[in-house]
Symmetry: D2
Subunit: 353 residues, 4 copies
């Protein structure tokens, strides 16, 4: 099926992103969930909460565990999330003697949130690399064509002449800030979620922080000040960052679409799109796409902020809302950066003087 | 892939809807696009714009036409939409003598928007039927249990006693208004899109309205006052309707989640969800889901209103934004109604007196 | 103070609207609240619930009642709304024997929501009249200049020639639908709110509907199917209508800003704005303002839909959110229509052939 | 007038904030605008662009300059912003010989954006101090009552026991992150805006950066990498920060409203609000208000992100949208922190064991 453009057989050619979407396949989810449970078992064995044999049995089982997807789906329909049935299946697969040690002291949200973080980590790397490539491409464009005269336009009217170096510098300024923001954000985001049923690691007595530290260390994540089951500010901040990035690119796309108007013709977008009815047209599809994605993320970011009102020790309603919004925002941002780079590659600056 | 919960292998068990999602498969899209082209060819033949043989050849080809999906995807990446390449393929399939008559006087937006309307039509029927079923289930609940005493709560505090009949009447009142609104909206929504390249049917001289009427008649759609390529108010209105429906159900879901709190226990939600860590719990998952879907649609509706700022005779940017939002809103609404009905089936009203 | 542009000493010259803002002054609020209480007292006297002398005393007091505003503000800080303290003051003003009959069987929300409806009524008339004037101005523009050749532009590129009559027809099409929608909406919106403490008119036995009818009749409002304390769909629908209107005008504003670009110059906006630095510029300020207001309302409408999740028999949180959003949306719409008309007056279509 | 709750005579008692609103009065705006022009003149004199006598005349005039407000309003209606007419008036006040040196090389956006930053600076201090006070109050609450047993509730159902120290720790965790984010954000936000007509300081040859540095130094602001006329990411980031803060407080408010339910009674909110109809009620108005403000800001933040699509070298449309949204968000955040502190003061934790 293809309710979403990101999963659509042909729209995803414009609006999808295989590399980022890969982090939101069930293969990636299941792998990260297993990674969590194995690291947890190892950490718990290390600290004496479960037998080392059990931890090794869990690790061994994880290597080849293939859950019954239909049962998982039925579990989601009933429980609102996949973990209870998945843990049940994993315990069965591990077997009767050791299976009972799976997921000890943990809760669904620990698995799902940590799984999300583990998959956001490579996504962040991809986004940062693309942002860098996009910025570098702009730098090269400025180096190559920065001396070409341009006309500044304010409030949709011709203002006074500038150069393309000026224009590109204005486009680039926020990109450097986005990289800085990502560095600020990463230590807050790349943290383990581990709190147990109600966020207090109550099964571990005073050893809770030690288990959390051992778990995080095995996953190469940091340990947050406390479990963030109900404090979702970092995810909303991250959503904001995604929308800042697409907003900056949407501004560039809007500018290019305006500059490529026939009467203006300050730029040409080569390889531009065709019309089914008017063969003379060269539609700046990639530029428009950047605008679309900016407005898409600007819309979604509100939902992530509404999800901050996360009642009590865990809200099913607010949490599920994140699932509906955040993956789409991540992919939309990746798409914008990829299409943005293609747009810059297709951009020809016209020296009209 | 599964960036979206609606297309996700297991989350769709809670948040997906096979019946409505079917309208957003490529099979349904392609079928509706062909339906448009066949009806157009027939209408044009009827009015003498193309040979009747050509129209019949198009109709015959349409019965078995299977486009090259990879080429369609490449077309979308280039053109921003599927139509140019799809028309090219369809013309080839129809063959050299008649193929040239495919899509005559039409434009991409005519095909895609009409295809959307043709697929929204059964979706509206589904939604109306579900809304009716949901309302009837509430009526039955009131008939069966309406005399049970209830406690009204305002501003989160106990107010004064009411009955369950009172509460259910308050829940039902907006549902009747939603049905009325849908009746008001339908004549605006179930219309053909047909304007040609720039909305003026310029290929048909003064016969444009006649072709539009013949086309609409064959598709059993109405003819709007004018092509709506750039006037997207009806889609935004429809999005608003969808969000009104999910909002009303979200209110009911929120109420039930509050009533099902252990300390309140005015209702029991049977078959409620389990926790991976706390086996005594009965989580009112369906009730929470209604809240999630209400907030999801309330978020998206803003984007559909931003898409009203649709520049000039057609905006690629604003149009594409609709594609990203509206299908999800339709399915979210269907999901809310389906899960809402399941929630009512699971609801037990506790007579505590 | 002037946190809001609508109340700002100089920004309101562009973004404010004295005629519509008048409905949101405390003078108008207090007058409508008194209108409610007097009509209620009269209706209750008519049906024998309070002495006719009491009703007359209330009506007489209302003619000159001036509440202590500082006490009202203190009441809001404590109670979250103005009614409890205002009723207390009104009862005191009416005096000991009759004062007790003020507000009988009613609740704060009855007063405040009905007061809102009473003030929205003239606002609707203003909006409808302005919408009509705007549409008529477009019709005149088309009659006068419709034959001038224009260039259609799709996806920001020149498409094929049309006429200005075509363009204006596309601009006008949604306006007629907005008038129709307003007619559909009015019977749902212009209704009394009257439910008593928990929406059931419990103080009146089986005479509740009769009191409601008598009250509504005196206020020249309709009686809804039930009190809408917690069913806020009509207000969200109305917010959607406001945003549809500003969206349609925002599209026109965006088009005019694009058409007025120096290189395009299909139109001239006379009397356009100046720059503090570049005296040659003619900024299409009014056109930009329409875009701003469209995006403002498109943003706010989401909040009105979130307010549909109105918990239990009355939510303080969701209700208060409406107060923060809806008045601004009403005024923004009025501003858009007023500035839109001024923009059309300033518009010169250039015949470049 | 009082379209906005923030400027409303009685609603502002609950939803307004005199201290923060003070930064959005015209007195504060005019003062900051003058501060900019005086600092600019001094910087330009320092670097030899204008005579020192002119700079001193400007500074002297600024001390007592009272613009004609009606003329400013007329200027806004015409120019879309106040600066052109205000500069004209200021030049007249300075007088014929020196007046010409006012605003040299600057543009409207330089004045208005820098004025905003100058006024946000004390607002940030206020917000940070209130955030600190709120956090400290929570710390004290935990120190005093942290050992009281509490019941964790997940998905609206009783989970397992925790302590109040656990709950309060979860509430506090995001607050520390908010303080850290503010420290990250401040160097990006507290910068001068100075670019001249099109962002390039073209009037100053290669001395542009020196003038900017001298100007910034006199205003005690930093110098950004470049003028940010069209790169509005920092304002959107700041809006996101405001909404993160209100979101965290909204979560606490929601929790308290749930805990204060009669059947739950884990807390009592003393001094709670009254009903006009039900005198036994104690409405947790302050707790609800925090939820309202969270949803208000979550709604507005989307608009600030849409304003990132800021076309060309300056967009009137996108810029004006910021004016409509950001001041409200700042005040809403201040209100939430102030009411939040009052709520904590009114909170009594019930030890039910």
């Amino acid at each position: 099926m293809s309710v979403s453009v990101f999963d659509h057989p042909w729209l995803s050619a414009l609006l999808g992103d295989a590399e980022l979407a890969r982090q939101f396949t069930i293969e990636a989810e299941l792998r990260a969930m297993l990674e969590f449970e194995v690291a947890l078992a190892m950490a718990e064995a290390e600290l004496g909460f479960i037998p080392i044999d059990a931890a090794q049995a869990i690790a061994t089982t994880a290597m080849s565990f293939q859950p019954d997807l239909a049962a998982l789906a039925a579990g989601v329909a009933r429980d609102g999330m996949v973990v209870p049935d998945w843990v049940r299946q994993l315990r069965e697969a591990v077997g009767s003697s050791h299976g009972v040690h799976v997921h000890l002291g943990s809760t669904s949200q620990d698995v799902l949130d940590t799984s999300l973080v583990l998959r956001l980590r490579p996504a962040l790397d991809t986004l940062a690399a693309r942002l860098n490539a996009f910025d570098s491409r702009l730098a090269a464009l400025s180096a190559d064509h920065g001396t070409i005269a341009a006309m500044a336009r304010t409030r949709m009217q011709r203002a006074v002449p500038i150069t393309w170096a000026d224009r590109i510098a204005a486009w680039r300024a926020p990109l450097a800030r986005h990289q800085k923001r990502l560095q600020d954000l990463k230590p807050r985001l790349l943290v383990v979620q581990f709190g147990g049923p109600v966020g207090t690691l109550d099964k571990f007595g005073d050893k809770g922080p030690s288990v959390a530290a051992a778990l995080a260390s095995r996953l190469d994540l940091a340990v947050p000040a406390s479990a963030w089951h109900s404090a979702r500010d970092v995810l909303a901040e991250f959503a904001g960052w995604l929308s800042l990035v697409t907003g900056s690119l949407g501004k560039i796309g809007q500018d290019i679409a305006l500059l490529a108007q026939n009467e203006v013709a300050d730029v040409t977008v080569t390889g531009a799109g065709q019309s089914s009815a008017m063969h003379h047209k060269q539609n700046p599809v990639l530029a428009e796409t950047l605008v679309t994605l900016a407005r898409f993320n600007a819309t979604q970011v509100a939902g992530m902020h509404h999800a901050l009102v996360h009642e009590q020790e865990r809200s099913g309603a607010a949490w599920t809302l994140e699932w509906m919004l955040l993956p789409q925002m991540v992919v939309a941002t990746g798409v914008a950066l990829a299409r943005g780079l293609a747009l810059l590659d297709a951009l020809r600056i016209n020296d009209k003087h």
